[in-house]
Symmetry: C2
Subunit: 245 residues, 2 copies
C-alpha cells in the first residue's frame, strides 16, 4: 500500500489517498487513533466511481471518525479510473435498456452484472483489510457499511474479521447470493429506501428475511435511492458502537 | 385529575398515580421539569392492563425522563381494574378461538374488538392531555408511543397537539382504520417485530405503506411480540428529539 496524498480536516481527521497495486483507495483516521489506542475500521462500500462518490463518502467517513472509527474505501473493479470490464459494461447496458423499456430484469442480466464484480471485488477488499489493518493506528473488529449489497453479503460470509455490517438494500442481488445471505450470521443493519426507483421493494424485504443473522434490523425510510436521511448515519454509528467496541 | 400516590426514583424522576374521573393513570416527570422549563410530554400507549404492564411502562418512562421528557399513561377501557366491556371481551374470545384453531381472523371480529376500544379510548387520552397538559411543569408538543396501534392512528389524526408518534405494529387494524392511516401526516417511527406470532407481517408492511406522512421510518427487528430490543428505546428518544424539541 502506497500513500499518494494526505490532508487534514479540522485537525480531527487525517485523509490519505493510497494505491494498493492498481487499486486506488482512501483511508480516513481520527486524530485520536494511535498505536496505543488503535481505531476500529469501517470499510465504506459504494456503487463504483470514487471521484463521483467522494463527497458522500467523505461525509460518511468524517461522521464515523467523530465517533472514533477509521474508514477506508477502494475503487470497484471496472469503475472510476480503473480499466473497464467489457462483460460487466455490457450487462449494465442490458440492465439499463430493460429498465428504460419498463421490462422485467432477467436474472441472467443480474448474474452477468453482479457476480463478476463480487468475485473480483471481495478479494480486493480483503487485501485492503490486510494492508490497512496492519497499520499500528488501526485495530479491533471491522465493520462494512454501504453497497454494493452483494459485495457486503459475500464479505460478511467469507471474511471473519468483519464483525457487523450496515447494508444498503439498493442493488440487484443474484439468486445464488440470496442463498449465501442465509448463511450470514453477523449482526446486520439493513437500510431500505421505500420508494427506491431502481430497486424492487419485495425482493429487498425477502433478502432481509433470508439473512441468517440472529440480530438483524431493517430501517426503511421514504424517498429514492440517494435519499437516505442524515439520521441514519447516527443510527449506523450506534449500531457499530454496539458491535465493534 | 386527582393524584393518589407519589414516589421518586433516584431523585431524578417523580412518579404520580392519578385518577381522571374513573380512569386510573400514571404520570412520570423528570426532576428537571418546572414551570420555567416545562418538559414535553409523551403519552405511553399499551395493550391494556396497567398492573401487568407497569414494569415495562416504568422502564420506558424512566428512559424518556432521562432525556427530559415527561410521560403519562392511562388504563384502557375494559382493562385492568376498570369495568369490563362485554362486547369487547366477546370479540377477544372469538379472536383467541380463531388464532388457537389456526383459522384466519375475520375482519368483523377485528372490527368488534378494536373499533369500540378506539372510540372509547381516544377521547380519554385527549382528556388526559387536557389535564396533564395544564400542569405548569408540562409543555410543548406531545408525542405518542406504543400500542394499541389503532388508537395511535386515530389520535395522530384527530389530536393536533400530537406532533410525532412511535407506533408498535403489533395489533389488528380494522380496514376502515387503514383509510384513516392514509390521512395521517405527522412524522412516524413504526416498530415491527418481524416474527410476531400474533401479527400479520404483510398487513403491517401494508399499513406502513399506507400512512400519509412524508417522514415515516420502519424499524423491523427479530423476535416475537414482546421482544422489542432495548436499543429501540434510544431510537425512540432520538426520533422525539428531532420532532418535539
Amino acid at each position: 500500500m502506497d500513500f499518494t496524498s494526505e490532508q487534514r480536516f479540522d485537525d480531527s481527521v487525517l485523509e490519505r489517498e493510497f494505491t494498493l497495486g492498481e487499486i486506488p483507495g482512501i483511508l480516513w483516521t481520527p486524530a485520536s487513533a494511535s498505536a496505543s489506542a488503535p481505531a476500529p475500521l469501517i470499510l465504506l462500500g459504494h456503487p463504483g466511481g470514487l471521484p463521483k462518490m467522494y463527497p458522500r463518502l467523505v461525509a460518511r467517513a468524517r461522521h464515523s471518525a467523530a465517533e472514533g472509527y477509521a474508514a477506508a474505501t477502494i475503487e470497484l473493479p471496472g469503475s472510476g479510473d480503473r480499466p473497464r470490464l467489457a462483460a460487466v459494461d455490457e450487462a449494465r447496458a442490458d440492465l439499463r435498456r430493460a429498465l428504460a423499456a419498463g421490462e422485467p430484469v432477467d436474472d441472467e442480466i443480474v448474474d452477468r452484472l453482479i457476480l463478476p464484480l463480487v468475485d473480483k471485488a471481495v478479494p480486493e477488499w480483503r487485501a485492503t483489510l490486510d494492508a490497512v489493518g496492519s497499520l499500528p493506528e488501526i485495530g479491533g473488529p471491522v465493520g462494512f457499511a454501504g453497497g454494493v449489497i452483494a459485495i457486503g453479503i459475500r464479505l460478511a460470509l467469507v471474511e471473519p474479521r468483519i464483525a457487523a455490517a450496515v447494508l444498503f438494500a439498493g442493488s440487484f442481488v443474484p439468486r445464488t447470493m440470496v442463498e449465501e445471505a442465509r448463511k450470514v450470521t453477523i449482526p446486520l443493519l439493513v437500510l431500505l429506501q421505500w420508494d427506491d426507483e431502481g430497486n424492487d421493494r419485495q425482493l429487498a424485504l425477502d433478502l432481509f428475511d433470508a439473512f441468517g443473522s440472529k440480530e438483524k434490523t431493517l430501517h426503511a425510510n421514504m424517498g429514492g435511492h440517494t435519499g437516505v436521511p442524515q439520521f441514519e448515519g447516527d443510527a449506523g454509528n450506534r449500531f457499530f458502537a454496539r458491535h465493534l467496541k
